[in-house]
Amino acid sequence: MNTGTFSIILPAVILIVGAFLVYLFSRFFRLRNRLIAILTVLILTATLVSLVMLYLQVPEFYHSPNNFFGLSEPGGIIYRPNALGVFILIVAIIIGIMITLYSAEYLSRDPRFVTYYPLILLTLAGLMGMFMSTNLFNLFLLTELTTITASALVAFRFQQEIAIKAGFKYLIMSSLGTMTMLLGIYFVYRSTGSMHLDQALAQSDSFTRIGAACFLLGFSLKAGIVPLHTWVPDVYGHAPSAVSGLLAGVLSKSMLFILPVISLRLGMTRGELGGYLMLFACFNMLVGSVRMLKQSLYRRFLSFSSIAQTGYLMFGLGMGYYFDLDQAFTASVFLFLVIAVMKCLAFLSAGMYQFYSGSQDIDGLRGIGRLMPGTAFSFSVALGGLAGIPLLAGFTGKWLIFSVALVTGDRFAILCLVVFMISTLISLGGYLPTLVKQYQDPSPEVKELLTRSPRAFRVSHWMLVPVDVLSLLVIVMGVYPTPWINLAENIIRWMLI
């Protein structure tokens, strides 16, 4: 029996206990939406604090053998933090705080807000476990936890048929993914007699490789890699915007960082993994940017852009594995951070449009800048950042990826780079018209709204604060990226892959 350091498991404990507490409190005391939101934010802040403490300890853990929590004997479950995982979790929690604050107003018209916040907490707890667990079965369970809670969140607006459909689709497809993982566990167990990752690494054979393939598939599905991306537009497009922000910004992108850890432990070579990522990155970039062009609903449009962004991230990671380059990992980590912020910002702003104008139509955005100038600004910042306009965060990320691809000087990487550039260009044709539409002459719906309230809408501060913070972040990361890049470099230095 070896419990190791309790501080490793503390954040997850806070989240899970917090989830139940929030549920019970809101049930018994019949709390209002905003109060629950504040409560959730408090819990998340506590988690954040504990995670940051953990992050500061990471250098110590790096050198000490006593860097885990759980049972080290056979059959025991071990949680082991690594710098990258902790960092991603911190980002996830920050995004979680933002969307919780945002939901305080956003959910004011929904009746079932009581279950919403615990579900968010549980999703984050599941994510946390996934990044720390080294036991395959445990990993499977936690993945399932995340999937189920997330699909409940997706189908949160149960009155809308399309939301139910989207939730169902997500549930079915993700479950199939996790089922494949289960199959993978079987193969691994058959070969090694253990479900522990470290043991699998010690004696990998073709069975573990099949298992690796299964895990690869499962996580690919969750990350939305083409051609397993079909759930993405439906889910992001029809889930509540706050949930879309969480899913698109952090949840699915973070799968890309779990995926290599598992696959490598199960005997895939770095070359194979890198090749896989780079190859499918090209598909992602192309499919995402082309299909983004002619979308009629703006959140669906954003989800295709998310597919393209996944591609960029995969490209960076793939180069990191294929060519064994630390710079590539740095670039990917930075890009992850940037994408999380921008994507969340985009979805939150889009949610505000939907919330106030009631329309999801991309044409309904015409002239909406007059009604909601602040939101229009932040949406423009998000789109500009995604499009890679200098002085916004996206440009720095792209510059890094660019330079890494050229560092390799390899033909394969250059080919992918060409695809990357083409995709960037095509996607400009998607981002810019949408951006411009906000300032065009108003569409009929907006005109009607304008006649009803000639002055700009008074947007709730609950929504405005997170959106403004995120826009500020996008600009700051664009103008002064040094600390963030330093952060990414440090993480890569301590990373335990």
């Binding site: 660019f402 330079s403 560092v407 960037t424 810019l432 300032y439 002459d441 040094t482 890049i485």
Partner: protein
């Protein structure tokens, strides 16, 4: 740090202060906003002039501050003779455009944003000319694009402006991406973003890589210069944009492409590696020259006529650069300056004509000469200027460009054709001038007087043009000095 080095960032910071004031001052009237803009732009004009002594003494003024140290990126600015010429041109043009905008009807609403964006546009260009760091350069390069696109989209004419703005953005962005590829390649190969370090080392790269980068740089910058096949963004953007923006676009922004060519491929790589591209640059210049002139001849919209003439004039500049000789490049630099003056003036004249007649179709305008003699005089000088009439500036630059063409020894025939092709400029220029100022008076409803607020800056620019044309010595001297870094003492 000498006082000069502290002054240098002021060129970019003072407009930034102006921008901040304008952004905060929400209910500024147009006049007040314009005055803030003009003052901060004027400060940006004074600083380089104040730095002239330092420039004479040291040849260049540097300023550097760390920004993203772990990527080797810093906020470093350098004022050299080359950047001085482009900087002064651009700032002057912006100033004139701002003064001119006071007499225009555009930008009454949200005028603080209007002038803030104009300042940002100018800031982008000054930064482009000054930056000694490729990362910084690209940021300013894109800033200039973004600001101009916003100006076109928000304050442009007609519902077409959105499509036009997008087209302008996307096509120019393709060029920018090609430039970006080269910049990143440089960055990756040497691990630093400092241009002065890169200039010292870049010639050690393998020759194939150099050739590849040169071609990408050239194509990328040609998009900005609106050379023939990639000029399609230009006429629309110039037509739709409000007049002050058009003036800045045509007179200053196009030449940033020429600056890029001089600052990047020419300065980075040895000239013998650029030699294979010389003939292609010259041919592209020739084609662009003739094609732009033909299109200007066919066009009916008076603003577009002048817009197409920019395509033609940029052809001369590219031709001059393509000669790769001292005189050709000097000519190209001079042409940038003179073209800026003449083009600004012609657009100002067009603006007055539109204001007076409320018409843009050339067949619907006529006989204005009798009623507006001063306007007619300005237009005449502009047209003569652009067609290379001797005492006016463009003759000087064309002389040098064609002399460079013969000096380059690439092909006498090509140079002679280009030279004779310049008569086409006269053809469209006289068509424009004759149709508008001669014949029966059209349209029936004319304004009584040309608006003074528009006329005075136009006259000022005209006088400046005549003066510059007669006394090119200073400018030529600057151009020669700025080329010394590129081709040393070849003559």
């Amino acid at each position: 740090m000498t006082p000069y080095e502290i002054l240098l960032p002021g060129i970019t910071l003072l407009p930034l202060v102006g921008v901040t004031i304008l952004l905060i001052w929400r209910d500024a009237s147009k006049r007040k906003a314009a005055i803030v803009g003009i003052i901060s732009e004027g400060c940006a004009l004074i600083i380089p002039i104040a730095l002239l002594t330092a420039l004479r003494k040291d040849g260049a003024v540097y300023f550097s501050m760390p920004w993203i140290p772990n990527m080797g990126i810093s906020l470093s600015l350098e004022l050299s003779w080359l950047s001085l010429i482009f900087l002064l041109t651009e700032v002057l043009v912006t100033l004139v455009a701002m003064i001119y905008s006071l007499g225009e009807k555009k930008g009454e609403k949200h005028s603080n944003y209007y002038y803030a964006l104009l300042l940002l546009f100018s800031l982008g260009m000054s930064g482009t000319t000054l930056s000694d760091d490729i990362f910084l350069f690209f940021i300013f390069w894109e800033l200039m694009l973004v600001a101009s696109v916003l100006l076109i989209i928000v304050w442009g004419d007609g519902e077409k402006r959105f499509g036009v703005g997008l087209k302008y953005f996307i096509i120019t962005h393709v060029g920018s991406l090609m430039v970006l590829v080269c910049l990143v390649t440089l960055f990756v190969n040497f691990g630093t973003a400092s241009l002065s370090v890169l200039i010292m080392n870049a010639s050690t790269l393998p020759i194939n890589l150099q050739l590849f980068m040169i071609s990408f740089f050239l194509i990328g910058f040609c998009v900005k210069m609106a050379i023939f096949p990639v000029h399609i963004w230009l006429p629309d953007a110039h037509t739709v944009a409000p007049m002050p923006v058009t003036i800045i676009l045509a007179a200053a922004m196009l030449s940033m492409g020429a600056f890029g060519v001089l600052r990047y491929p020419f300065a980075l790589f040895p000239l013998e590696n650029i030699q294979p591209f010389a003939i292609w640059m010259m041919i592209a210049g020739l084609v662009s020259e003739v094609y732009g002139a033909l299109m200007a001849l066919a066009e009916k919209d008076i603003k577009r006529i002048i817009a197409y003439s920019s395509v033609s004039q940029m052809g001369y500049i590219l031709f001059g650069l393509g000669t790769l000789t001292q005189r050709g490049m000097e000519g190209a630099i001079l042409h940038v300056v003179y073209h800026a003056i003449v083009k600004a003036m012609l657009f100002m004249v067009v603006g007055i004509i539109i204001a007076v007649t409320r018409e843009r179709h050339i067949y619907k305008i006529g006989g204005l000469g009798k009623k507006f003699p001063i306007l007619c005089g300005c237009a005449a000088i502009g047209i003569l200027g652009i067609s290379g009439m001797p005492p006016l500036g463009i003759f000087n630059s064309e002389w040098l460009i064609f002399a460079g063409g013969f000096d380059s020894g690439v092909s006498i025939t090509l140079t002679v054709i280009t030279l004779l092709g310049s008569v086409l400029t006269l053809v469209y220029g006289l068509r424009f001038f004759g149709k508008i100022f001669f014949g029966p008076m059209k349209p029936d409803r004319l304004a009584e007087k040309s608006p003074r607020a528009l006329l005075f800056p136009t006259i000022a620019v005209t006088i400046f043009l005549i003066f510059e044309g007669l006394a090119p010595a200073t400018l030529l001297n600057w151009a020669m000095r700025s080329l010394s870094g590129i081709i040393g003492g070849i003559r």
